[in-house]
């Protein structure tokens, strides 16, 4: 049994006191990050990356810390959805639909516990799925040559673009923006500078962390300045927290189905957790029929999106670890972390550095149990955290971002660039242009170009080489479908509106 041997290796790393401590800290920070409105998982992970880097953590420790933050943020997102009717992160939007009505009926505690259990089921099953599927996919990934990788990157942009925006042209612009930024700097093949405009600061290219922190964290500050931090007061009362056994038993099949749906959605490159929670909610709604009370505080309506969302978070790690293609915005940020740590994700990661992969999987298992404990009996602590006012929180986030980026390079140029990206992020989000493709473009642009150029070297400039293997043809078809299909499905897949008071 390969898996058992690998797992025991993983647990031997994950159960060391130091790693365990990092996992607990990560879970705690993550839940806070997820719970605070305006500080989603991508955001939070992005701000923490420069700090982990300067702390000098080794690869495994840093990865354990950040993925615990990632899982924690997925748990925490539900707290503000249920209590404030504000999704703490995008995938938690679906949880507001039934979570907030239930909380208004005076069952806030039940809603929090139920969603916590659903999160646990989703994340637990997804971690098992990751354990089984990732090594298999890693073996398939050996068949990938440069032509296949080029098509795979294209697929990621197309599915992400198709899902992330309501307008395909806008997501294409966002992807091009990221790819265009990635080209700046010294060309890997020829060693000559490209598109730097003679600016010495740009010779190294633009650090993706600068762009990520700017687009996510700094842009958020501008949004809070625009609306003066309104609507972040708790409107519902939270009394004693008890465990609603009846609701949990009633929703057990819902949780299992939603986990499966979420996990599959998460694996698709580019689709991610938002799609997972959305599909899980919609499919449960149609299974339950019209009189099920979805949208008015139904237990199944809380369990389904939370299980789906957390399962997708685990599923999104599969393509990220095996192929180096992130399945969601936050995994894109985690990919940035891997790149900063000089770990190349891909099939060789599983054979060359098994301790990283299996240590990570084992700590995800542990993180899950820690999170269940934190999120059910100790949920009141995090509710307290929600009461931190925006006028303390947002300046604090900004200053932490500045210190983080400054400690990376010590250059004021990067800081100004970060503010520029913040302003850009504000304009883009105002115009409903998704920012995740920009990040993905900056992260993957160099690899995508490399794949194309190596493919052309292999085929001596013959473009048909890009479509020469069955795998690449399949990926091209999937990419085109992923980009075009949402245009026609938009009528069916319309996102439900948020509940208004």
């Amino acid at each position: 049994m390969d898996i058992l041997a690998n797992l025991s290796l993983g647990f031997s790393i994950a159960l060391s006191p130091y790693t365990l401590m990092l996992a607990v800290i990560g879970c705690f920070l993550g839940t806070i990050i997820g719970a605070l409105p305006g500080l989603g998982p991508s955001n939070g992970v992005a701000i923490l990356i420069p700090l982990t880097f300067t702390l000098g953590l080794d690869a495994t420790s840093a990865l354990v810390l950040m993925t615990s933050v990632y899982y924690g943020a997925m748990y925490g997102g539900r707290i503000s959805s249920i209590l404030l009717n504000i999704p703490g992160d995008e995938p938690a939007l679906m949880t507001t639909l039934d979570g907030y009505p239930m909380a208004k009926q005076g069952r806030a505690g039940d809603a929090l516990v139920l969603s916590g259990v659903a999160s646990f089921v989703g994340a637990f099953l997804a971690t098992i799925g990751l354990m089984l599927l990732a090594p298999m996919l890693a073996r398939v990934a050996y068949l990938f040559g440069p032509a296949e990788y080029f098509a795979l990157y294209l697929l990621a942009f197309c599915t992400l673009g198709g899902m992330a925006s309501n307008n395909q042209a806008k997501s294409a612009i966002a992807s091009c923006l990221g790819l265009g930024i990635a080209m700046i700097g010294v060309d890997n093949n020829s060693g000559l500078p490209r598109l730097t405009g003679g600016n010495l600061h740009l010779m190294d290219g633009i650090d993706f962390l600068v762009a990520i922190v700017g687009l996510f964290a700094i842009a958020e500050v501008f949004f809070f300045i625009e609306n003066h931090g309104k609507g972040s007061a708790i409107g519902v009362k939270l009394d004693k927290v008890t465990i609603p056994w009846k609701d949990i038993m009633e929703t057990k099949w819902t949780m299992l189905r939603a986990s499966l749906v979420g996990f599959v959605a998460g694996i698709l490159p580019g689709a991610g957790a938002s799609l997972g929670s959305f599909l899980a909610y919609m499919s449960e709604k149609s299974i339950a029929g019209k009189d099920s009370g979805f949208g008015t505080g139904a237990a199944k309506g809380i369990a389904a999106p939370e299980a789906g969302n957390n399962a997708a978070a685990g599923g999104a790690l599969v393509p990220m670890l095996t192929l180096g293609v992130p399945g969601s915005g936050t995994t894109a940020v985690l990919l940035a972390l891997l790149m900063t740590l000089n770990i190349t994700p891909g099939p060789t990661l599983f054979t060359d550095r098994p301790e990283v992969v299996w240590g990570l999987i084992a700590s995800l298992m542990i993180a899950n149990f820690v999170l269940l404990l934190m999120n059910v009996p100790m949920v009141k602590i995090f509710v307290r955290v929600l009461q931190v006012p925006a006028w303390v929180l947002l300046p604090g986030v900004t200053m932490i971002s500045f210190v983080g980026i400054y400690s990376l390079s010590g250059s004021y140029f990067d800081l100004i660039l970060m503010v520029g990206f913040g302003a850009l992020g504000y304009v883009l989000r105002k115009l409903d242009i998704p920012t995740v493709p920009v990040i993905l473009g900056i992260l993957l642009g160099g690899h995508m170009e490399d794949a194309l150029r190596r493919a052309m070297v292999l085929s001596d400039g013959d473009a048909t080489f890009l479509f020469s293997s069955p795998i690449s043809i399949g990926l091209w078809i999937a990419a085109i479908l992923g980009f075009v299909a949402p245009m026609f499905l938009r009528g069916i897949l319309r996102k439900p509106q948020r509940v208004t008071d």
Partner: protein, 146 residues
């Protein structure tokens, strides 16, 4: 309608400028069949086409804030840029307190709490970074302490 068209036009201009500067990229003697120019030009062309689509078929306008809010956003950007420039010569505590206080005031316009949160954040974060996380921050400019 108008904002998408304007944005499309801006993207189109940038894309064309990008393609133009991509044609100026030097190629080395170690040439591969694609070369360093082709991919940037491809990206630029794709962006230009998408921008044209956006100009032809724009979405409805978002709710833009009123002019005064734009003013305060501009102030925020200026404060952040000034903060970026001040961080090295003036040390951590002073610029952070001022910048955080201004941002706090902009989110919730009450001078007292804003000033307090500025000072609190700056001292608190300094202690956290310096002693808990061990980053090498400088509290005050060297000239001040002597």
């Amino acid at each position: 309608m108008a904002s998408d068209r304007i944005f499309g036009l801006v993207v189109l201009m940038v894309a064309l400028a990008y393609i133009a500067s991509a044609t100026q990229i030097q190629t080395s003697f170690l040439a591969d069949p694609v070369g360093p120019k082709a991919f940037p030009m491809l990206v630029g062309a794709l962006a230009a086409i998408s921008a044209l689509v956006l100009i032809v078929r724009p979405d409805p306008d978002p709710d833009w804030p009123v002019a005064r809010t734009f003013g305060s956003l501009l102030v925020a950007i200026i404060v952040l840029v000034a903060y970026a420039l001040a961080l090295r010569p003036l040390g951590f505590i002073l610029p952070t307190a001022i910048a955080a206080a201004i941002l706090s005031y902009q989110i919730s316009p009450r001078p007292g709490p804003a000033a307090l949160s500025g000072i609190g954040l700056s001292v608190g974060l300094f202690l956290l970074f310096k002693f808990a996380l061990g980053l090498g921050l400088v509290a005050f400019p060297k000239g001040l302490i002597g």
